[in-house]
């Protein structure tokens, strides 16, 4: 389909595969990244993200499939001639050169005149907010500054596509939060197409226009952050993007997409299959986000929602804006994690308090159980 509209996508991968001996690291991955957009590949460690990146950059030969940049196949183009640049996982700045020489390296290789290089380097340093550091050595910079230099080193070459392989992985949490915003701003300022790899969902959700969720060498779902969050198409995506309460159970009633599910621990809940066609008797897995569950001290407040229950607070997990409580349903069954609104009403909540809680049936995503596709991570 992307072939019909040449020029709209900066980067296209078509049925890309990579085998290492018998092991398939990347399995028929296809995607197109529109010009000037921020595309993320999100997946757990070892799912094949770096392998895709290295094939695009030219360091690995795909076993099959095609890579096109601006609609031209680049399979025969060596890495030093490809119009893509890569920010490496550990940045790979050249420690033997100063900052200006690092940024100017690619320009020197293009044979640009010295004064021109100097001007471009200064301009790039200005743009990343670090003017005047050109003479410094690499190890005289902080982690975040190195980060920006590594990006500038690629962006001065004005590549068609910039690849970033978990570039924030080495930074501490605070700096990572800061760099997320900064990266997005840099991308907007340069207008370059970014392909960004991460295993951190919040990085992907905050920065990306489009996210591909990857697992075991395949793309599970490609969509905006919102789509992945509210309408996951597979159990893996539901489990990987955001937190969820998850239960396994059996479908006891199925009615126009709304399901009644009895969990293994005996909890009766309703959920929606969003067109996945589950039928009575199927084994199902149900995902409900803690923040999709409404809580109240009065049962009447929740009368418009389907899954109404009450439970005792067994654990309070205070984490500022993201505080949670774990409730033990009075009807018995699995403990349920709910998000606590931080508007003050629940500031005095204690262990042992009884709360009413409920969620809308369509907020609960049900998937047919398909064991090998289930992610190995624990929901909580």
């Amino acid at each position: 389909m992307t072939r019909d509209t040449p020029g709209s996508a900066d980067l296209e991968c078509l049925a890309l595969c990579k085998q290492f001996d018998a092991f398939t690291a990347v399995d028929h991955v296809s995607f197109a990244v529109p010009s000037g957009s921020f595309f993320s590949i999100l997946g757990p460690s070892g799912c094949g993200k770096t392998t895709i990146m290295r094939m695009i950059a030219g360091f690995l030969e795909p076993s099959s499939g095609d890579i096109r940049i601006k609609s031209k196949s680049v399979l025969d183009v060596p890495p030093n001639k490809r119009p893509v640049n890569m920010v490496f996982q550990h940045l790979a700045l050249f420690p033997m050169m100063n900052i200006a020489d690092n940024i100017g390296y690619g320009l020197r290789r293009q044979g640009m005149a010295k004064p021109e290089i100097g001007r471009k380097v200064d301009e790039a340093l200005e743009r990343i907010g670090l003017p005047g550091i050109g003479k410094r050595k690499v190890d005289e910079l902080s982690g975040g500054q190195k980060q920006r230099v590594a990006i500038a080193r690629c962006l001065v070459l004005e590549p068609d596509v910039l690849l970033l392989d978990e570039p924030l992985g080495a930074l501490d949490l605070k700096l990572r939060e800061h760099m997320k915003v900064e990266l997005k701003a840099l991308q907007a300022a340069f207008g370059t197409t970014f392909v960004y790899i991460t295993h951190d969902q919040s990085e992907a959700l905050v920065m990306s226009d489009q996210i591909a969720v990857m697992n075991h060498g395949r793309f599970e779902q490609v969509g905006s952050g919102r789509e992945l969050y509210y309408r996951p198409e597979t159990a893996f995506v539901a489990g990987f993007v955001g937190d969820s309460n998850r239960w396994k159970g059996r479908v006891t009633r199925a009615e126009s997409g709304l399901l009644q599910i009895t969990t293994q621990a005996g909890l009766q809940v309703t959920g929606a299959d969003h067109g996945r066609g589950l039928a009575t008797g199927d084994q199902a897995e149900l995902f409900v986000r803690p923040e999709a569950i409404r809580i109240s001290r009065q049962a009447e407040d929740l009368s418009h929602l389907e899954n109404r229950m009450s439970g005792q607070v067994t654990t309070l997990l205070f984490n500022g804006a993201d505080s949670r409580a774990i409730l033990e349903p009075q009807t018995g069954g699995d403990p349920i994690e709910v998000a606590l609104p931080q508007s003050g009403e629940y500031a005095d909540l204690k262990r042992g308090d009884v709360l009413h809680f409920a969620w809308a049936g369509d907020q609960a995503n049900a998937f047919a159980v398909n064991d090998q596709a289930a992610p190995s991570l624990e929901a909580q």
């Binding site: 950059a57 030219g58 360091f59 060596p78 890495p79 030093n80 001639k81 640049n85 890569m86 490496f88 996982q89 550990h90 790979a92 700045l93 050249f94 420690p95 033997m96 050169m97 390296y105 690619g106 290789r109 293009q110 080193r153 690629c154 070459l157």
Partner: protein
Amino acid sequence: MRAGNKLALILLLTPLLLWIGLLIIIPHIDMFLVSIRERVGVGKYQISLANYWTFLGEPLYLVTFARTAIMSVLATVLTLIIGFPVAFFIAKIAKGRLQSSLFLLCLVPFWVSELVRTFGWMILLRETGLISNLLQWLGLVDGPVELLYNDVAMIVGLVYTSMLFMVVPLVTTLESLDDSIIEAGYDLGGSTVSITREIIIPHAMPGIVSGSIVVFMLSLGNYLTPTMLGGKDSLWFTELIYSQFIVRFNWELGAAFGFMLLILSSAIIWLLLKLTGQTLEKTMT
């Protein structure tokens, strides 16, 4: 506890200090003292620089001195040129078992003594040797060829003897170069030549310098290889020292020669460090 540590430190350092003191510092002081005395009568000596004047006044000594220095530098450069790709292959391209067996292969020649190693070259290169016979058998030459007893044979022997001491430090420094830095070079449009020049060689500089220092000193102080493989005109400075000490019993002049050699090697190493902007501490760690 503290006192125990101190004692352990003293015990550990004692052999090292003894070694440095007894085998290096004291002999050198003594040699220096011997080199600045002049025999004026039977059993009578006076302090003078006469031995050094003798050295400077005799063209044969000066020529041999310069030749030894130049040939040692040449041998070092050749060892580096051959050793660098070998080290790069071992450190960056070979993987797993191939890597360790190649490394071992560099070590194998050192399982036999230097004499045997040098003799091996003689078997290959002499008039009735393997290469001469091979060339005759191939019809490339009419009669037996003598490949021994010339400067080329001597340089070959020196390079061969020192190869390991160049390869080991190079492999160590090259292994510490992250593969992704080389890849980043390619990614940014670098060619193999420019990456080698701007990234790999600067990174390997401490290894290059320390390997070169060791190889240079080994070549300069080598006695066996120049004597056995070199020809009549390939006089090595160590041979002059040997003849002063052993043949002529002129210890005073021999000591002065030894001191000149020490000054020469120190000067060239200093020059090398200055030229490459390295420090001795950096290259030896």
